[in-house]
């Protein structure tokens, strides 16, 4: 069973469908991995026999917001669960827990992924950026500042994920159109209806960065 799928041309991108949560949590204690264990390169893993991990906790290291953190997780643990639980990074929100709403978005080597639909064991050496680590301590990323300025949030539950997807958009496309912004947030649901102000905010942030 191959749990992580690299799409050619989009480094670090993970399909949301690549991980379907076990329907029976009682038997979901084990995971069979080909790749992406901490410190194990994909190329090396691909040639060897599948390894079996769990059901007990497995020690891994995660690179989160610039820090390298050692943590023990059961193989069934999702990235979102590790972030919100032992790492206490509760800015990452879980709203659907199946990759449909994007509230749990974090950046993996700069690309948005649904952390609810990715196993912590699958992260490997890729750098995780959560909302807490987007800007330096006490600072705001231009997208965050623009969200405040344009009131691009209401209840704020979808906001961390939205902000991260918009920040990633500006990295790959510093001069987006309104349609580009809509495409970047098209997987994000906001029941409060913040989309128009999000589009305004991201266009303004792009403008501000151009000077």
């Amino acid at each position: 069973m191959r749990l992580s799928v690299d799409i050619p041309g989009s480094r670090g991108w993970l399909s949301r469908r690549s991980f379907l949560k076990g329907t029976s949590a009682a038997t979901a204690g084990m995971a069979v991995l080909e790749s992406a264990l901490a410190g194990v390169g994909e190329a090396a893993a691909a040639a060897s026999e599948p390894q079996v991990f769990g059901p007990d906790a497995v020690p891994i290291t995660l690179r989160v917001n610039g820090a390298t953190l050692a943590v023990a997780v059961e193989p069934r643990t999702t990235l979102a669960e590790v972030l919100r639980g032992p790492l206490n990074l509760t800015g990452t929100k879980v709203a659907c827990d199946r990759g449909a709403c994007s509230a749990c978005t974090v950046l993996l080597d700069g690309a948005p992924v649904a952390s609810c639909s990715m196993l912590a064991l699958d992260v490997g050496e890729r750098a995780v950026t959560t909302i807490e680590g987007l800007a330096g301590a006490g600072a705001l990323h231009p997208v965050q500042a623009a969200f405040i300025e344009h009131d691009a949030l209401q209840c704020g539950f979808c906001t961390p994920g939205m902000v991260l997807s918009c920040a990633a958009l500006l990295e790959r496309n510093p001069q987006p159109t309104a349609e580009d912004v809509k495409a970047a947030i098209s997987g994000h649901f906001c029941r409060c209806g913040s989309y128009p102000h999000v589009v305004d905010a991201v266009l303004a942030a792009a403008q501000a960065r151009r000077g």
Binding site: V94, A100, L134, I148, D151, G156, K182, C192, G193, V198
Partner: protein, 795 residues
Amino acid sequence: MATDRQDSPRHEKLVAGIASVSLTEIERTVPADEAPPLPPNAQLRLIGKSVPRWNGREKVTGAVRFTADIQLPGMLHARLLRAPLPHARIRSIDTSAAERYPGVRAVQVLLGPKGGGTTSVSAEEGVEATRRNVQPIALYAGVAVAAVAAVSAQVADEAVRLIKVDYEPLPFVVDMDDARAPRAPVVFETLDVQSGFGAGGLVTSGLSLKGNVRGPATDGRGDSAAGLAAADVVVESEYRTQVQSHCCLEPHGIVADWRADGLTVYISTQFTAGVRAELARAFGLPLSRVRVIVDAMGGGFGSKSTLGYYGRAAVALSRQAGAPVRLVLERHEEQIDSGYRPATWQRLRIGARRDGTLAAMSLLSYGTAGTALGAGVGNIASRMYTCANFDESHYDVFINAGAGCAMRGPGNVPGAFALEQAIDELADKLGLDPVVLRDRIDLSPARREERRIGADLIGWSRRHAPGVEAGPIKTGLGMAQSFWAANVQVNAACEVRILRDGSVEIRSSVQDIGTGIGTVLAQVVAEELGLRAEDISVRIGDTDFPAGPPSYGSRTTASITPPARNAAHQVCRQLFALAAPLLGTTVDDLQARDGRIASRSDPTHAMTFREAAAHMRTEQIVALASRADDYDGFRARTGDAATALTDLGGVHFAVVTVDTETGLVRIERLVAVHDCGRPMNPAQIESQVHGGVLQGLGYALLEERILDRQTGHMVNANLEQYKLPGAHETPRIDVRLIENYQGFSATDAYGMAEPASIATAPAIANAIYNALGVRLRALPMNRAAILAALAAGRG
């Protein structure tokens, strides 16, 4: 209390009128300790300005704390066991294996006539109750029957699966039309709950129940039969509206911490003070021993107004385990069992004279809120237009589905879908422009101005006759109106305190559910004290502070901003009393501006706010104010809730394109013009209108809960098959606000959350009719519905 408190009421002149039309003054009698009249927004520094959201920084950095983010030492995690059958008698329940499972700390059985959750009892009591047949019936697929608290959510999940329930399947019905049939399976043999607040408004008590049909609840005036008989023109149509789910991004959740000296609960709620009262009643505690906290709240839209079955279960588990318990619903539970907007069927007849004057209206409706009451269609048909002869009859229909509850604009949202299409149809029959007809039959000066502004913005004069465009893709223009009562909670208080270092706090249990009431409170207090909004520490969402209003029924701003201003006024007078002798003047000569306290007659006599505060004898000066009655009284008052003499309006205009080959409807543009008395923070209001419009757009085109008639299960209990509007479905939305001053309170501000959602779906429906010349009378107006309507229209 103000040191200079006068005892007799004052006569004051207050600003009145619509700012874009004309302003005048109106005299009111004002209670003695109220702040002086507030000038129009144009003359104010902070009120009516788009001050940035008070907790925006915490929200964009992920620092703000939602209920599921709460971590307490020793906290347990709870999961619920849900019934797999849509209707079943529970023969027995065996929790022993779950209780023995390693890591399990408490097990509860949920009992109740409405199927789960009315009370939560220990497993032992629950098993015994079941044996004695006290736990009778699971009323719908997914109803909670037991709860487990364990050291982790995974362990709780595993343990829940070990609970053995022996179900005896019963016949069930999940479709409203099926449920009305004479030999339909019966949901309730008898009905214990006969009154209260239902899914679409107040529930009339004492109505008869026949099969699954309860009613009719009736209302009326004049003689509608005679009026219809005498009318020159009559329109009559039937309308259907579907179930809409709230889909709060943050699921319902609670962390309950039961201790010997009291109970603390963190809960995602629209009403901290109400939940405290419910907890005190349910668990036999004094109010003083119950504390309810919500820092940030991830969307409620009506569904988080009460404690709920899950809340009672979590508290009972915490009491049993002697440890804090977190219970957060998973998404499928949220979709199945956290409320929804009821489905309705309506038949509406309207008669008019040739000049458009309404002669009579007659409304028959059926609605289903599953196992709950109150699936009515609101009061919009009765109240929005002048019509001397009116009658309505409403029936609630029970089905084996979870309980519906209030959802943004309850009743009036489905009601408007029928009424506003019928009024359009009437205009068509009379050969009148829909805006012109409404100018004749709608007495509201606010909506008149809103029609003028909206028609101008959307280019209403370009509107073509229905269905005249050639080609497969057709454009249409439509409009519709909102009506909502202006609600006020009189049991609403807050405290403003100045500390000796010159810092200022506002404290109330009122909760910010995403609408930004915290920002507005800071604006109001800062305006009064001559400070900046960011100088005010906003401490809300905690029942340790004075009890604030609920955030439902569009009443938060109307209820809490007047006491906030009055409390600020009162502490300001106390500070002036300290400063006046120091500045060699009188209290009445002083004013607070730009962080300074200065003499009006000689502005060189001044000191900073901070310097004045340093002279305080005690560490703080405090004023507590509660919501006075509106200056001209209320239309009605029941307990803590009142309705103002004013109403809330709102008019929406939509431009749509319809692809007649694929059925795809695109909303090209939407104009929403609204009133809320004095607008307090235009940016936040605009955000809220966007949300109302988008929920209305989803209701119009996309959203629908689907229950499978064969199995009784919801088939789209998720966020991918239940279709929500996303960024691509979002049109250009132009929001305009009118300033509608009436001189009713210290802020003259009212709500606007619900009107923003009421007019959208009918405006889109009227635009689709204008595009196609074919009317869609059922929701959602998705592609299949459009193609079917076109086929029927051509046939």
